[in-house]
Symmetry: C2
Subunit: 310 residues, 2 copies
């Protein structure tokens, strides 16, 4: 199997989509944005051994990697309140392994289909495993959410549950385990993002970690987080009954939930886009993030999120 | 220097541009396509040791890599007759080396500025050196060029000169040499692409090699190439006075010139977008590409272009 066979395989399996004037066939894709919209563009890549375990019993499967590579990009679109439209894929592969590619595409294209996100272009090269994705989405002009807009007194809310991905990683759960699924097959919160963009003053997705991403939202301001209000899955509560151990994982990222600040007097729905919405704290003017335990005492943590170069 | 310092460095140096509603600051960029246009999107990456020499005396400099990474993408936009608007950059770096990053940005951003192509987003990760770029351009709706449209009897034309990049690689020329410059700092033929899109029936850029990329244009048809008409720079003619040796390099790719087929009766300009346009042969119905020498005899070659997995 050579480069062109691999591309033919991808082309044969990538369904076209709305607004695709010209897809994988040419030097570049030609796309038709809908009138009255703005384009939302993001890119993110996965490096073997860095963003997923690539060796040993708990190595990510090709299908999981395919899902994850697209999911982390769609999550960025969700954080803007955008609807996915198109994506491009750059595969750097150590060898032309068609079985691996097929499995990878199973994961990638299933998620793409779910979100009507057409794969319209890409590139294949040989080298250490590295998967790059660019996702393009759309918003009605001006109707996007940003990271800025937090003010003291506002409420901090989060979708879904926190800590599952970090637990899946730390506890090295096998395929099929719900915690591992949260780590390797996160659900981009597209529908929730659309709803939150309407009510939130600031919005971000939690990729690096709750505290790290919250820091992006509050800037020079501060925040109070009530650890005992952090939304917790039953799988995580069972795996880690100790509050403090669990909280550390809940600060650690990889869940791709959405984190928002909303006005103090906003009416909060119990769920957005079919996923639970939980208030976990407040924006303050303290200049620091304080995590409080059940008694309201400050819970010290050195957790500051994921830095790719530490 | 950590991941966020690197991003801050890039952000500080990436000027905003037309149609950039929201740039590097958020989870994704928000871009305003011009009314009546279609979006043209392409992605391509460079792998160390594969797309450029990364070790030894002739290793590509960071500045050359920065230019090359963007140039190969802009060349794809040129091949569609598109005008560059925005780009996104994914850097996988073995270490957080700020001197390397600065040089890389010198090359990347100089070319971006020349084409008014705003850097609006990206990602940095740690791993074996791999640079991914997505370029977004624009065409007036329907006014893009494609690879299809070749018919027997049409003339085959090419911009600029051929073989310089392959000579720069084969002859391992040092920095400053014009052949090396063609290899590592190719000029995306944007203005030529705009003009060729008006007159060509099919258009492609020569990345893999003249014969390989011509094969994409002619499909099941054939072609006759007159080797003694291949446009040759004086630097190449001097380096390789032997015709046959030189022709082999001229088939070999990396020049990022544009290759087009035009109607037999089309009036051909001597130059497009300020670069010479040369007729090098004809489309035939023979089902194969025949390269003819000065006497009209078939010149046998096994050169079939660049396959990343051979």
């Amino acid at each position: 199997m050579n480069e062109f066979d691999l591309i033919a395989e991808i082309k044969a399996r990538a369904p076209t989509g709305a607004g695709v004037v010209l897809g994988i066939d040419d030097d570049a894709a030609v796309l038709q944005p809908a009138p009255g919209t703005q384009l939302v563009a993001t890119t993110d890549n996965l490096v073997a051994g860095r963003h997923f375990v690539d060796k040993g019993d708990n190595a990510a499967t090709a299908e999981e990697i395919g899902h994850l590579a697209l999911a982390v990009n769609l999550s960025d679109l969700a954080a803007m309140g955008a609807t996915p439209r198109w994506c491009l894929l750059t595969l750097t592969l150590p060898e032309a392994d068609s079985a691996w590619l097929r499995e990878f595409l199973n994961g990638f294209l299933a998620l793409a289909a779910e979100h009507h996100c057409a794969l319209v272009g890409g590139n294949i090269a040989r080298g250490p495993l590295n998967i790059g994705v660019t996702a393009l989405g759309e918003v009605p002009a001006g109707k996007f959410a940003t990271r800025s807009g937090a003010r003291p007194g506002q409420r901090i809310v989060v979708t879904g549950t926190l800590g599952d991905a970090a637990a899946g990683l730390t506890l090295a759960r096998p395929p099929g385990d719900p915690l591992r699924e949260r780590l390797l097959q996160p659900v981009p919160r597209i529908a929730a993002g659309l709803e939150l963009a309407e009510i939130a003053d600031a919005l971000i997705d939690i990729s690096d970690g709750l505290l790290a991403d919250l820091a992006h939202l509050i800037g020079e301001l501060g925040a109070e987080i009530h650890c005992n209000q952090l939304p917790t899955s039953s799988a995580l509560a069972e795996a880690l009954p100790d509050d403090r151990e669990r909280w550390l994982l809940q600060f650690a990222g990889g869940d791709y939930e959405l984190l928002a600040v909303v006005a103090n007097d906003a009416k909060l729905p119990a769920a957005v886009g079919g996923v639970e919405l939980t208030e976990i704290g407040r924006v303050t003017d303290s200049g620091k993030i304080e995590c409080l335990d059940a008694e309201g005492k400050v819970f010290e943590t050195s957790e500051s999120g994921w830095d790719h170069f530490v």
